[in-house]
Amino acid sequence: SQQGEEDPQALSIQEGENATMNCSYKTSINNLQWYRQNSGRGLVHLILIRSNEREKHSGRLRVTLDTSKKSSSLLITASRAADTASYFCATAQAGTALIFGKGTTLSVSS
C-alpha cells in the first residue's frame, strides 16, 4: 500500500512557534497532499506537491518532498491558536483515490 504515515502523532506548541509534521509513504506516487481537519469537521485541502517538486510554499505553509526517502514534511510558521487541528498527508497515483495517513494532532496554545 502507499500509505502515508505522519509523525509525531501529537504536537503541542505555543503561539508564534513553528510546527513541523512529517509523513512517510511506501510506494511511488504522483502527488502528495496535506489536509487539515478541525475536530469532528470536514477535510480542508492545504497544499499539493507533485512528485517532481521538492518544495512548495503557501502563505505560512511550507511543504517539502523527498521521493528518494519517500517522505514529506509540513512546516507551519508563526503558528496561531486557530491552527489547532489534525493534519493528514494523503498520497495518490495519477487519478486514483487518496490514501491517508493517521494524522498529527496539533495543539497551539496562546
Partner: protein
C-alpha cells in the same frame, strides 16, 4: 467559492436498516468519491465514480454498499443493511480533470451512528 455539500449532517439508525447519504459535488467536477473515517482512525477510501460508473473501489465497499448519481447534481451512497461497524463519518469528495484535477475537495461529512 463552490463547495461540496452533504446531507444529512448526522444520522442515527438501527442496525439492519438502510441509509442513504447524499452529496452535491462541485458543479463542474467529473470525479466523485466516498471516504469514511471511523472515530479516532484514519480516513479510508470507499469508492470512486466517473462517467456514471464505479472506477475504483476498496475492500470495504462490499455488496452492502452502492453508489448512484440519480440526476445531474446529486451523488449518493447507500448502505443496504447497516452494521454497528458502519458507524463513522462519511465524506464525499469531488475533483475536476486534468492538471487542475488532482486536488479533491471534501464535503463536511455525514456522521452515521448505527445502534
Amino acid at each position: 467559492e463552490p463547495e461540496v455539500t452533504q446531507t444529512p449532517s448526522h444520522q442515527v439508525t438501527q442496525m439492519g436498516q438502510e441509509v442513504i447519504l447524499r452529496c452535491v459535488p462541485i458543479s463542474n467536477h467529473l470525479y466523485f468519491y466516498w471516504y469514511r473515517q471511523i472515530l479516532g482512525q484514519k480516513v479510508e477510501f470507499l469508492v470512486s465514480f466517473y462517467n456514471n460508473e464505479i472506477s475504483e473501489k476498496s475492500e470495504i465497499f462490499d455488496d452492502q454498499f452502492s453508489v448512484e448519481r440519480p440526476d445531474g447534481s446529486n451523488f449518493t451512497l447507500k448502505i443496504r443493511s447497516t452494521k454497528l461497524e458502519d458507524s463513522a463519518m462519511y465524506f464525499c469528495a469531488s475533483r475536476t480533470q486534468g492538471a487542475a484535477g488532482e486536488t479533491q475537495y471534501f464535503g463536511p461529512g455525514t456522521r452515521l451512528l448505527v445502534l
